[in-house]
Structures are given as structure tokens and as C-alpha cells.
Amino acid sequence: MENHEIEIPLLETRRLTKIFGSLKACDGIDLAIAPGEVHALLGENGAGKSTLVKMLFGVLEPSGGEILWKGRPVKIGSPAQARATGVGMVFQHFSLFEALTVAENIALALDGNVPIEKISDEARRLSVDYGLPLDPSAHVADLSVGERQRIEIVRALLQNPELIILDEPTSVLTPQEADKLFETLAKLKAEGRSVLYISHRLEEVQRICDRATVLRHGKVTGACDPRQETPSSLARMMVGGEVAAISGAGLGEPGEVLVEVSKLSAPARSPFAVALKDVNLTVRAGEVIAIAGVAGNGQSELFDVLSGEVTVSHADQIRIGGVAAGRLGITARRLMGCSFVPEERHGHAAVPTMNLSGNLVLSRYASDRKTFLSGGWLGLINTGPVATATKRISTDMDVRKSLVDPLAGSLSGGNLQKFIVGRELDRQPRVLIVNQPTWGVDAGAASRIRQALVDLARSGSAVVVISQDLDEVFEIASRVAVINEGRLSVPEPVATMTRERIGLLMGGFHDGAGHPQPEALHAH
């Protein structure tokens, strides 16, 4: 690896370009991956990383430029062709059928007709060889996210690829699961395989990658050895400037109890949903409670019962400002001063085919009835005040848009999220409950949203932030709880919380008596 500069690269792109309409998602990308290296592709959301690897894997067709494999130009027209060439890929969002077994899922992705027993044996052998414990006959629905990712990795390895592309592999893993993944990557590297590792987590890139290529706005802004850089120099390359630090995270003394969840259990509403088990939570005025956890451990279910989109069996299991609210719907809870920001922007928090003013009315027509509606039971929408409020929110949250009132779906993820958060902050809610506030949002917008959440708590409101992003949790929370398989740990002050401890709690190790006790170990 030391002399990779003179070797012929395993994969090389020259002026690779992809244009969507008027947007250059990738603009003349030059990239070279040497045999046996772990190469990082760094960049913010929307920088063009996913577009680039989709071209390498034959999912998207390049608009210009060329791809060279071992020095020879190749055309990769489909994922099957990519696999035949020697490229394997593990996607960020898994393409697995939950009702099928591991082996069946692997068989589906293979070209040609291979008997399922052979696949099982091969998968078992690979999973042992690479330290990826996996039972080929298990049903995917029963597996954790980390285990599902292993299926994807094993599926890619079965093709014996020379280059493996991993798209944001650790975004869904606990720190401990991520460590295991890194061991596997080291093994692959030792065998002489190359890895293209896509991430925006600087620390892990520094830890495992030999070289890094940084993308911003579809262009290569830097190529470096990540170990020679500092996290802040890498961040500058990614963002193109300094990111504002959150100020005043240390909040004052919390006040009265505003939200009280007691002994809340709720059955799973579908075979693939998570049941909530004996959740207890008290949130006071003036504090930010963060609920950390790996995706799919009951976060959306918890959000749904807190928001009132799903009501619970006993009214006093959820109290808002002292009033039993468990049987009340979302509108009634909004009228009690609560605001909600769900995780999914398109089709949950906002209707993408409606303009911003319509999306403002969506969550505010009841709480701001006096301003936004007139005509009594007729319910006429007052377009004037709605337009004024839309403009105010866009200015306050720095929502960047080309039209005065564009369709929500035409905004970038970060800008739409700023509008959605701003829509709720604009009414100064007493209680704000947010699920994944900065998921898929660029660093600048994320910092603005986090600052706004902290400011709201400082002004005396109670804020609950459900987040997978540990950096975010440590940046804004006053207390931290962890959700795992529908159970919520006791919130602890952020000052005494460590990443390792959160990692243990994420993995299901709860401690009732002050020392770690494995409560629910997975049977493998």
C-alpha cells in the first residue's frame, strides 16, 4: 500500500459527471482507488456521494466522463454488470424482505440459479471467516439493524468482489457494533480487497481509512490522508467554512413538570413495529431531554403516542401540564401548547405537493385559529396572515428558496426541515417534541436547528429530542435517556453520561442497581 501512487488504480473515474435537470449532482469527479486500500468518500448530505457510488454500481447512468477498471475503460450499465466486474455494494437503506429468511434474501440478489442449501453453507462460512455472526435460517424481521447490515455485507462478499462500497454503514449501528464492522473491514483489506467507505463521521474516517476524497456541491474539494488532518480541517473541506458552535447548552434550573409519562406500555401495531414497554419520563420546563438510540427501537412509536397520533389505553399515562392527555388526539394536545416535529419530512411533517403556506396551515390551523381562519364554521383560510407568517418563519430560520411560496417538495432537505422546525417554534410552544431533528440535514442548517431548540428551552419550554446522532445529543441535551427495544432508560444528566455508557444502554444493558447488568442479551 505504501507505493499506491505508482500502481495502476483498481478503479478510477475521470471527469465523471451526472446531471439531473439543471442540477449537476456530480461535476467532473476524479477519483482513484488503489488495490487494498480503504478509501473514504467524505461530504455533507447532498454533496453528491450517493450519486457518485450509484454510477459506480450501475444504478445511475453517467451524463459524462469515464470509469476505468484496472486501467481499462468500462461501462457499468447495471448492478449485475457491476457485480460481474468485481464491485460489491452495501446500501445505506437495506433492500431486504422482512418476511423471508437470511438465506432467501441472499438468494434473491444472486444472478443465476444457485440452490438455497449451497447459499446457506456459503453464507455461514463467510460469516464465520469475517466475524459476522449470522444465522442463515433466521427471519429478517427478527434481526437487529446491525445483523441486517451483515446480511448485506455477506451478500456482497458472496460475489467475491475486489471493491466493496459501503454507504454510511455506521449510521444505524451502536458504537460497539461499529467496532465489529471495523474489524471486518480490516480483514477485507488484509486480503487485498479495496473498500470505498462513505461517511460524514470524521473520527471513524480518521480511524480506518488510508485516503480520503472530499466532495462538496458535486465537486472534489480535497484529497488527503485523513490521519494527517484534524477533524476541524476535514470539516472545513466538507462544509467550506466554519460551523457555528451551539452556545449556551448549559441551561438554567429546570422548572415545573410539563410532560409526565408513567408506566406506558403500548403493543406493536404491526408485525414489524416495536412495542413500548413500561416507559417512564418526566420533562420539566427549561430543559432539553434527549432520547438516544439506534433506529428502529421504538422511537417513532414513542413519538406517535407523545404526539397523540396514536392514543394510549389510559388517559393518565401521559400528562401534559398536569392534565391527563393520553386519550386526547394531536389537535387537543396542540391546543394545550404542544408542538411536534416528526422524523419523516415528506408526507408526514409536510405535504411535498403543497406550497409552504399550505404546510404552515397543516399544523397550525387549530392553534392559530383566530389568525388563520375566519367565517366561523365555514373555516375560511385567511391567505394574508398565512402568507405573512410563512414569510416570517422563512426569514427567522433562514429558509433559502427561489420563489416566495414554493412547493415543499422542491426545497432541499435542510431547508424544508428549517421551515418545519420554524413553523412550530413560531408559536412559542410550551412543549416541543422532535424526532430526528437534523436527519439528512447539512451541517449549517443542523447547527441552526439545534441552536433554536436550545433557545426555546432557555425561554422556559420543555423540549424532547429523539435523536440517533450522538454528537447532537451531547451538544444540546441537559439530560439523556436511551431507548432500546421499546424500553426507555432513566434519564441521566449529560455531564455524567459517556459515549461508552450510551453504547451499552443502546445495546440493551440496563443497570438498575448502579452497575451494568445484561438484562436482555440476544441469543445467537
Partner: protein, 361 residues
Amino acid sequence: MRIELKKRDGISTLFAILSPFVALGLTLIAGVILFIALGKDPVAALYSFFIEPLTEIWSLHELAIKAAPLILIAVGLSVCYRSNNWNIGAEGQFIIGAMAGSILPVVFHGWQSPLVLPLMIVFAMIGGAAYAAIPAFLKARLNTNEILTSLMLVYVAQLFLDWTVRGPWRNPEGFNFPETRNFHDYAVLPRIIETGKTHWGFGFALIAALVLWFIMRRTLKGFEITVLGQSARAGRFAGFSDKKMVYFAFLVSGALAGLAGLSEVSGSIGQLRPVISPGYGFTAIIVAFLGRLNPLGIVAAGLVLALTYLGGEAAQISIGITDKVTRLFQGLLLFFVLGCDTLIHYRIRLVFGAAQKGSAA
């Protein structure tokens, strides 16, 4: 080889507006080819189909009479389709509404009073709404596919009407014809103006279109309909109930279809017969989409589709072609409307084989 539909990056507003007109133009071109294939002079045929009915006052009245049920039903359907409820059974709701509205003049024909007509209207709307409530209930409670249930209930309604006018409601003085007795004067929908045949059914249609246009455009209810149609999840987040919307949409469209049925039997036919509709409930689906699910657009589209009914009759008389051509024209029009809409949003790509598809790099 396979055909792929790829979403276009930007949608041209100009073409979105032009689309219904392009569809009309293509229908006319297809009509020319059709008439040539039938051995008729296409110019004369199209003239008698689309122009002749517009040249005389009496036929303009006919146009309004035929357009009235189409507009009434389609305006109701637009509420359904906008809220993502697929009511295909307006024909059945039309029939049951007409029957419910006919109870007073047929069964209680001795009671003659100015109150009869308003009550008939109320009965008809309740009847149509009640019949539409069946698929609504099945969808909201049992998650049944409303396309199938509402469509199948059409045939139930048709056969029920047929049985009723041949059996219990047959006119005792009617020489055994399968018809009810003629409506008495208090039960007949009056004309809008003395000199022409157009009755109040057309007035109801215009009022319904204006009211629903206002609701859709200005009110929270219209907002709720749109939100739930675009995304049920976002609707629940807003605090709207998708189940209640199922009932609302079906009841509104059922009531309007019922009113259309009553207008037709009371204003045009004057009694119940085994068949009271030349397929208004189905044609209204075309009207709703040709009018872009916009109540004002539906008024225009209703007039266009009514013209195909009149033109069919005219062409049958003047150049001797079958009236099936009417159905054909309506089908062509729907085909081209949906086709144009699809091509505005999507690009068609032919893919030859799986392996060679990335050939343009």
C-alpha cells in the same frame, strides 16, 4: 425489451394547462381516421357530431339538460378523487337517488302539494348518500377496496330498479308497460326559463360546482380534502381523520349523484323506467378528469361530454352511423386525457435487454 416510465425533472405548466385541449385534438384526429375506416365523409361526420348540435336553440337546451347530471355527479366525484377515495359507483347512487326521490309521486301520488318537490329532492339526496355509505362503511371499517364494492353496487341498483318498475311500482293504468305512473305536476322539476326546455337540474349543477369550487379553494374543509388525498399520514399529523373523510367524500358524491338522478327523472323523463341513465355515472368519471378535478373545469368538461351524446344522436340520424360511436368517442377522450397527463409527468424509455442499458455514457 421493456418500457420504463421515468419521472420528468420539471413539469411544464403550459403543457399542464394545454393537456385537455391536446387530448380533445387527438380525439378528433382519431375520429377522422375512424370515420374514414367506416367509409363516411369525416368532415360531414364530425360536423354533425360536434357542430350541428350547437347551431339551434332547442339543441342547446338539450345540451344543458344532458350536461346537468354529468356536472352534478362529476363535481361530487372530484371531492372523492381529490381525497383519494375511488367511487366508481355514481351510476348506482344516481339510480337509488332517483328511486328514493320518486317515492312520493309514485307511492303517495294522491298527496299533491308544493311541498312534494322539495321533499323529493331531500329524499333523493339522502337515498344517493345512503347508497354511497355502503362502500364507505366497508372501506372505513373493513378496509375493503371501494373501487370493487362501489362498482358492483351499480349492478345491484340497476337490477333493483328494473324489478321495482316491473313489479311493485308498475303503473296500474299503464297497460303492463314496465313503467311507473307519470309524475303529477307538483312533482315535476320546473324549467329555468319559460321558452326553453332546460330544467332546474342544470341550475343545481352550476350551484353545486360553484359551492364546491369555493369550498375546495378557500375553506379548511377543502384543505383537509386535499391534504388527506395527497398524504394520509400528513393528514393525521394535522389532526384530520382519514376515516371520517371516507364518509364525507362518499356521502357528498352520493348525495349529488342522487340529486342528479332525481333531476333526470323529475325534469326530463317524468316517471321511472327500467333504464333511466345512458351511463351518466360512468361518463361523469371522464368529466371529472377532463375537468382536472376542478369544479369549474368540470362544468366545461360536462358540456363537452354532453355534446358527444347529442352528436351521437345527430350523427345516427343524418349520416346513419351507430350510436355506439358516442361511447367510443368518450372512451377515446378518457384515454387521451390520461395519456397526455401521464406524458406530462413521465418520459417513456424503451429498454432493450437488461445488460446493455447503460449505453449512452
